[in-house]
C-alpha cells in the first residue's frame, strides 16, 4: 500500500508539472506531449519510456488494489456485529474515506484514460489529434470541468491521508515530531497536487487559456 502509493505520488507530481505547460501555450504543451513519446530515442523505441512508465504504473496499481482489498476484507471480518452508536474522535475525514474515495479515483482514472488516451473524446465534436486543443475544447464544457474538479477533491483527500499513512507504514514516524512533519507533508502534497491539477481546467473554463 505504502510503496505503491508513494510511486503514485511521484507520478501525479510529474503529471501535474506536465499539465501546467498549458500555461506556456499551444506549442509548448504539444512539444512536451510529443517529447514524452520520443524521450530516450534512439536507444528506446518511440513511446518506449511511456510504456515503461505505464507498465510500472499498472504493476503499482495491481499491488495497491490487492493490498486495499485484502485490508478491506480483513476489516469486514474483524467486526461482523456493528455498534449501535459509534463516534469518530481521533480520525480525519480523509482517513475514513480512503476506500470509497479510492474506488471513486479508480472510476475516474478509467474515464480519464478513455477521455484523453484510449478513445479521445472531444465533447465539442472537434479534432482529437491535437493534445492542447483537446484539453481546451474539453474544459470549455462546464460539466467536464466539474467531473475533473470532483475527482481532484477525491485525489486531495486520498493524498492527505495517504502521504502520512505511507510514511507511518514504512516506520519513519516513530517520534511525535516526525509524525507532525508527516501530517504536514500530507497537507502540502494534497494541496499542491489537487490544486495544481485544478488550475488548467479552471483557467480554460474561465477563458484565460484558449
Amino acid at each position: 500500500m505504502a510503496v505503491s502509493g508513494l510511486l503514485f505520488i511521484a507520478f501525479v507530481l510529474l503529471h501535474m508539472y506536465g499539465n501546467l505547460k498549458a500555461f506556456a501555450g499551444h506549442d509548448s504543451y504539444n512539444t512536451y506531449a510529443e517529447h514524452l513519446r520520443t524521450f530516450g530515442e534512439p536507444i528506446l523505441p518511440r513511446e518506449g519510456l511511456l510504456w515503461i512508465l505505464r507498465l510500472g504504473l499498472i504493476a503499482a496499481l495491481a499491488l495497491h488494489l490487492y493490498s486495499a482489498l485484502a485490508l478491506w476484507h480483513r476489516s469486514g471480518k474483524a467486526r461482523t456485529s456493528k455498534y449501535v452508536v459509534k463516534k469518530n474522535l481521533g480520525s480525519s475525514f480523509s482517513s475514513r474515506t480512503m476506500r470509497w474515495g479510492g474506488v471513486t479515483l479508480l472510476l475516474f482514472v478509467v474515464w480519464h484514460l478513455i477521455h484523453f488516451t484510449i478513445v479521445k473524446v472531444n465533447p465539442d465534436g472537434g479534432a482529437t489529434n491535437d493534445p492542447y486543443n483537446l484539453v481546451v475544447d474539453s474544459f470549455q464544457v462546464w460539466w467536464m470541468t466539474i467531473i475533473y474538479l470532483v475527482a481532484m477533491a477525491a485525489l486531495g483527500l486520498h493524498l492527505h491521508h495517504g502521504t502520512w499513512s505511507s510514511l507511518q507504514t514504512l516506520g519513519w514516524t516513530s517520534t511525535a515530531a516526525a509524525r507532525t512533519r508527516a501530517k504536514i507533508a500530507g497537507w502540502v502534497v494534497a494541496i499542491v497536487i489537487a490544486g495544481g491539477f485544478s488550475l488548467v481546467p479552471l483557467f480554460v473554463l474561465f477563458g484565460v487559456i484558449d
Partner: protein
C-alpha cells in the same frame, strides 16, 4: 440525577443479543460509572431479573479489565478507564448507550463481558523477555539512556484493556501490539529476541482475526493511557528490519 440506560444484553456467546432499556434514579454524580451499574443491578436483583454482567477488577484504572463502549466511545467521554469515569461526566436525564467491545477476536461471553484472551495469546507469542529469574540484578549494571527509559515506560503504560481494538474502524490491535514492541524494544533486555518478537506477535495478531491498521488514529484517541501513534510506526519499522534480516 436520573439516567436512561440502553444496554446490550446477551445471555451467552451462542445466543443473539439485543439492546434493553433501563431507568436508574437517584444517581449521585460522585458515583463511578461502574457503581451506577451496581445500583442498576441491585434494582434488577430486587425485581428478580438477571443482573447485567460486566467486567471489573481493580477499579482504580490500572488493571485493564473494565472496558465498555459508552455512547459510541471506548471507556466513555473522558480519557480514562470505565471504572474511573464518574457520573459527573453526564447530565440529569441523559440517555446512555452501553455496549461491549465489538471485535470478532473478542467474543461476547455474556452481556458486556468479552473474552480478551486474544491479547494474552499475542503476549505469549513474543511479548516477553527470556531471562532466568532469581535475585534482582544490580540495576546500574545495564545502563539505559534516559530517553529510551522514558519511551519504554510510556509504552509500558498499556494495560491491555482493548479500547484500541474497540475504537478502531478496522478492528486492529496494532496500538496494543506497537506498545509492547516499543516497550521491550527500547530496553537492552529486549534486544536478543527483538526480531523474532515482532514477527511472531504480528503473526499471532493476524491469526486472531484482528483487522489491518490503516493509520486512522481512533485507537490513540480512545486509549485511556494515551499511548501515541508512534508505537505503530515503531512496530512497522521493527517488522521491516526483522524481515530484512530474513525473519
Amino acid at each position: 440525577m436520573k439516567v436512561t440506560l440502553k444496554i446490550w444484553r446477551q445471555p451467552d456467546s451462542a445466543s443473539q443479543g439485543a439492546m434493553h432499556t433501563y431507568e436508574v434514579d437517584q444517581v449521585s454524580e460522585d458515583m463511578s460509572f461502574l457503581e451506577m451499574l451496581d445500583v442498576l443491578n441491585e434494582q434488577l436483583n430486587t425485581q428478580g431479573e438477571d443482573p447485567v454482567a460486566f467486567d471489573s477488577d481493580c477499579r482504580e484504572g490500572i488493571c485493564g479489565m473494565c472496558g465498555l463502549m459508552i455512547n459510541g466511545q471506548a471507556h466513555g467521554p473522558e480519557v480514562t478507564t470505565t471504572c474511573q469515569l464518574h457520573m459527573r461526566s453526564f447530565k440529569d436525564g441523559d440517555e446512555i448507550v452501553v455496549e461491549p467491545w465489538r471485535s470478532d477476536a473478542f467474543p461476547v461471553l455474556k452481556d458486556l463481558v468479552v473474552d480478551r484472551g486474544a491479547l494474552d495469546r499475542m503476549i505469549q507469542a513474543g511479548g516477553f523477555i527470556s531471562v532466568n529469574t532469581g535475585s534482582a540484578p544490580e540495576a546500574h549494571s545495564v545502563p539505559v539512556p534516559r530517553d529510551d527509559a522514558v519511551r519504554a515506560f510510556n509504552a509500558a503504560a498499556c494495560i491491555g484493556c482493548g479500547a484500541c481494538v474497540a475504537a478502531c474502524p478496522n478492528g486492529s490491535a496494532s496500538l496494543f501490539l506497537g506498545a509492547k514492541i516499543t516497550h521491550l524494544g527500547e530496553l537492552p533486555q529486549g534486544q536478543p529476541e527483538r526480531h523474532s518478537r515482532v514477527v511472531d506477535m504480528v503473526a499471532q495478531h493476524d491469526h486472531e482475526g484482528f483487522g489491518g491498521c490503516t493509520n486512522i488514529g481512533e485507537c490513540t484517541a480512545a486509549c485511556p493511557k494515551e499511548i501515541p501513534l508512534d508505537v505503530i510506526s515503531q512496530l512497522n519499522r521493527d517488522l521491516r528490519v526483522a524481515m530484512a534480516h530474513g525473519h
